[in-house]
Symmetry: C2
Subunit: 301 residues, 2 copies
Amino acid sequence: MRKLSSENFVYKMSAENPPVMTVKPRKTILIQTQDGFGGAIKRDDDPFPTIDMERVNQTTGPIFIEGAEPGDTLVVDIKNIVLPKQGVTTIIPSFGALKEQFSREWKKVRAIRAGRVIFPGGIRLPVHPVIGTIGVAPAQGTVGNLYPGPHGGNLDVKDITKGARVYLPVFVPGALFSLGDGKAVMGDGETNGVGIEVSMKATVRFDLIKDKPIRRPRLENATHKITIASAANLEDASKTALNDMIDLLVEETVLTKEEAYAMLGAIADIKIANVVDPEVTVRVAVPKYVFAQGRKKKVRN
Amino acid sequence: MRKLSSENFVYKMSAENPPVMTVKPRKTILIQTQDGFGGAIKRDDDPFPTIDMERVNQTTGPIFIEGAEPGDTLVVDIKNIVLPKQGVTTIIPSFGALKEQFSREWKKVRAIRAGRVIFPGGIRLPVHPVIGTIGVAPAQGTVGNLYPGPHGGNLDVKDITKGARVYLPVFVPGALFSLGDGKAVMGDGETNGVGIEVSMKATVRFDLIKDKPIRRPRLENATHKITIASAANLEDASKTALNDMIDLLVEETVLTKEEAYAMLGAIADIKIANVVDPEVTVRVAVPKYVFAQGRKKKVRN
């Protein structure tokens, strides 16, 4: 299996970034990443790093996917995520959901042992590895890795873990994919602006769906289909993710638009993915059995 | 077991509502409720009812809890919820997360059979009964049952189901508790403004925690402790629910305020409970094992 080292990284996603590797569809590769701080905090007594929000969440890449063209959908299967032996959590002044109250720098290195992250007082959280930032070059211009958007980026969706199939729009030839910003475990909303930040070894498999554009990232796992949207506020992000799910239900099932809307009122699972970034992110999940039971029957001639 | 019939109901929570029953703490009663439309839609060809938002979500009660005084906490254990054989879903013009797009009246009666709600195309959703509106008389004035708030009210939190222990602040003598607005199943956010609306028979047990005020409703179930907050927007509701959870972690575990904040970034489960009411609601859940593992050790003399 080919490997891509974490030395090949970017702080922003852009068509102008030269690719560091070319991969064919249906190939699996191993991507090594640095943590969101570029590994600057290794011990509790390391000085608090100077944080430039234009230089965080480095993503390894970009990777040129052979044959990817604007209008295609890039399929990324997260096959595995290997964690290191420790991660770090921080409070960064002027960043986080409660930044008005928590204005002092603070950091702690957390050990990771036997599949658990070790907290004070004997609290042990089972690891749940998350890829925080994953995406492609945007349609236009450059997007820093602090930002989520239609190209993916800093989505901080907990469901982007082992077993997830992530769909990303392709906006530029080769897609120019990259990922990073790993977490050993992360809460919804990424409340204090970070999870347990880690370097990662992520095994991913690429594929392409030709000539089938999507507007924004979405994903599926063993149990759910999930739409994801980012906006200036949570209400607008919710509306977009809900509308995308209505479109998906109408496309794939017998439900009318009204029935699909009412289905969301009955079964949608709506989480705040990030409430801290320059744009906030909401994800809407619907169980796959709804799609399976309600799917359009094919008419045979 | 004493029963309270759905004929005893209110459209608003207020200290001025005369109690219809008095119950002692540690007693269990059965409360019958009408659906949120007062049973106005029984068949698909019933006319769409005229909906006065001041006269929806009728709650059965109010119940005077003997000995409840301002500054106490009312404990309500949801022991059981029995559903009828059908429910109703609607699209109400000018109400719902996507009201700009769905401006026409629409309604469907849904059969409930063998623990499943029956949808078009053969889709069957397992029932998950929810008490949508539950609360006490507010500290001051009157709050209509369309509104959530510190007194509870129209919270639409999916976790308020069988097995939940709901904590409500007591603001007036006797608390003046009521509940209603049942759902056979409901999605997070209550996207189209309703779930599968049903009448219910809810079995609840009351208890009091004397002289221990809480600011807002919270709850726990077998696996999680949950804080709930409502506000004009989802960001503010999130902040309040997160702050309440930090206070709870600091009170009950060895975590400092900073450690508790960072714990939320690692493990919080944050859902949008309602994104349609005049105030929106967010709930933040943390697994109980975090509280158990991290609890303050008592010092023995």
